[in-house]
């Protein structure tokens, strides 16, 4: 089109447009069916995937004890452990970064609370607080290096993965001459803070359940399920809080903006660096909660705890609908991703299928999730020209 016709068109088009607007009303609003809106929610894939997985194991493992009370607690616990770190990995991924050091941090944090308590005579609560402070300081450092250098967090946190794992082994040998440090349960009894991670809640409720025959009990009358493990409570609590923060607060909007386009976010005054650093600290925090729950469940810390957990967390987050490129995702989705993970892992155990198939399944799940997410992203950002 030549320039002079363009300038003519311009005014004509403007007239057209204003006429159009006066009569516009609602004919441009196309009714989108509810199912289609649901399809476009980031957590849709994970929730429907979880349903499928349940149906599958209900059919194949329905009578194996997987859905008895102790079976349920079993896979819920496994899912909740992963859910804990998936929640923080999810927020971080939405903000456009990865933390590959989560798994190593689990091992490191476990040692940070166990060694002072067992070898140096610290009170348990002091050792736990020390571990949280230490882990979050390392998380801060991780995030600080990422935002100040502009290097990909993939590489920076990969470095931390190796350094922390190495330090965990080296320091535990240096201080204790071993890589599995036990005996913390002796000191944990009666400690108020240890109970927040190690215990169960709802003991009397479950005893009552056993008494009325709702759940089975051992010969001596104690119920097979004592109560709900604290790790489940932590996971649900953090999922609710993190989801609320993400969707309903100013800071949550900053997380989306940071991952969606950090330059745009910076230009309108979003404190991008602070958002990222705080989320690296949050992943360290959840890794420490994970570590504490394990330490007080088993009564020991081990230098190899948490190996590969960072990848499991990322898989759960991606299955949960988050985009690897940032800016999009859902905490609830990540939790359902973790649930799929836990249910399949334990379901394969209950059905007696060779556990190698678990990995095949995971890989396939991940691939399907990524393809699905990619499709949804295109739908969501489909530009109309």
């Amino acid at each position: 089109m030549t320039d002079q016709t363009q300038s003519v068109d311009l005014s004509k088009m403007a007239e057209d447009k204003s006429r159009e607007e006066k009569s516009a009303g609602d004919e441009r609003v196309r009714k989108v069916p509810t199912w289609k809106r649901l399809l476009h929610r980031p957590e849709f894939g994970a929730i429907s995937g979880a349903l499928l997985v349940f149906v599958f194991f209900f059919i194949t493992a329905g009578d194996s004890g997987m859905f008895a009370s102790d079976g349920i607690i079993n896979w819920t616990t496994v899912s909740a452990q992963l859910g804990l770190i998936a929640i923080s990995a999810c927020l971080l991924m939405i903000a456009g970064e990865f933390d590959l050091s989560i798994g190593s941090m689990i091992g490191f944090a476990g040692m940070m609370m166990t060694i002072p308590a067992v070898y140096w005579g610290w009170p348990i609560w002091g050792a736990i607080l020390f571990a949280f402070a230490g882990a979050m300081l390392i998380g801060f450092l991780n995030g600080y290096i990422v935002v100040k250098t502009g290097l990909p967090s993939f590489i920076v946190s990969l470095a931390f993965l190796f350094m922390l794992r190495g330090l965990t082994i080296a320091l535990s040998i240096l201080f204790t001459n071993r890589t599995i440090v036990g005996g913390i349960d002796k000191y944990a009894d009666g400690d108020w803070l240890a109970a927040v991670f190690g215990g169960v809640i709802g003991k009397s409720l479950f005893t009552w359940f056993a008494n009325i025959g709702l759940i089975s009990s051992y010969d001596d009358g104690t119920p097979v399920v004592e109560g709900i493990p604290m790790v489940i409570v932590w996971c649900v609590f953090l999922a609710v809080v993190a989801s609320w923060v993400l969707l309903r607060t100013k800071y949550g909007n900053w997380i989306f903006a940071t991952g969606g386009d950090d330059k745009a976010a910076r230009n309108v005054g979003v404190p991008v660096d602070k958002v990222k650093i705080s989320l690296f600290m949050f992943t360290a925090f959840t890794a420490t909660v994970y570590a504490a729950c394990q330490v007080f469940e088993f009564g020991s810390a081990s230098a190899d705890r948490g190996v590969l957990k960072e990848f499991e967390a990322i898989i759960a987050v991606v299955i949960g609908g988050a985009l690897l490129t940032g800016g999009y995702g859902s905490v609830i989705g990540a939790c359902f991703g973790a649930l799929i993970f836990g249910v399949v892992q334990m379901g394969i155990f209950f059905t007696g299928i060779d556990s190698d198939w678990f990995r095949v399944f995971l890989g396939a799940m991940l691939l399907i999730a990524v393809l699905f997410n990619n499709y949804i992203r295109k739908k969501v950002t489909e530009a109309r020209h």
Binding site: Q4, S7, M13, K250, N253, F256, V268, T381
Partner: protein, 265 residues
Amino acid sequence: MSEFIIELKKVSRYFGSVIAIKDIDMKVKLGEVHCLLGDNGAGKSTLIKTLAGVHAPSDGEYLFEGKPVVFESPVEALDSGIATVYQDLALVPLMSVTRNFFMGREITKGRGIFKRFDIETANQIAQKGMAEMGINVRDPSQAIGTMSGGERQCLAIARAIHFGAKVLILDEPTAALGVKQSANVLKVVAKAKARGLAVILITHNVHHAYPIADRFTLLNRGQSLGSFMKSEVSREDVLEMMAGGQELDELTAELEEFSRLDATA
């Protein structure tokens, strides 16, 4: 206070050995559309980034509301009322209309740990702000990636207006747009002007600039060829200055067509 909200006096900006802009004088008035014209690489983007606090001037004086200022960051400029809609838009495609509209300036309700982003009110404000610019937003929770380029430009402008911008800087808002969408954006620019904002509009399309501008500043290879009121220059003058005496053959042909057009109009 000075009659002009922004005044540049001999402002230069260097990048190492590169002289991006040199000795620029420029005055911007409220309620006026000030067009910044120039070929690619003339220094238009550098000039507005200097105005917007992205770059500090290497030399010269920057007066805002009559007082010399040094903006340390775009946020500082924004807080003073200088809002910029960059070529790359400063919007996040995956986020909703409302979330983009309030990005960095979220309104909240509740107190203490229950303080939260007031999405309901925000939705209403965003929808209303867009409607005032003549854009019907069907669903403020839709991702803006689904909107057309023109609608996104209008969103960025509506956002700036809502948050009390006094100066609105637009970097080639029509560059990637079709005719109809360009017309929409220019209409929104006219609305901003009618509300008393100063608008600095960058374009290298004279046909977009001329109908809406009150004042022109022409840049060529980093230097100002001067500022002109619309009454002082014709469309042909502007075109000629932009081309800087080059490519005269093409230009002559174009000019002939204009005179034909003006005669019939």
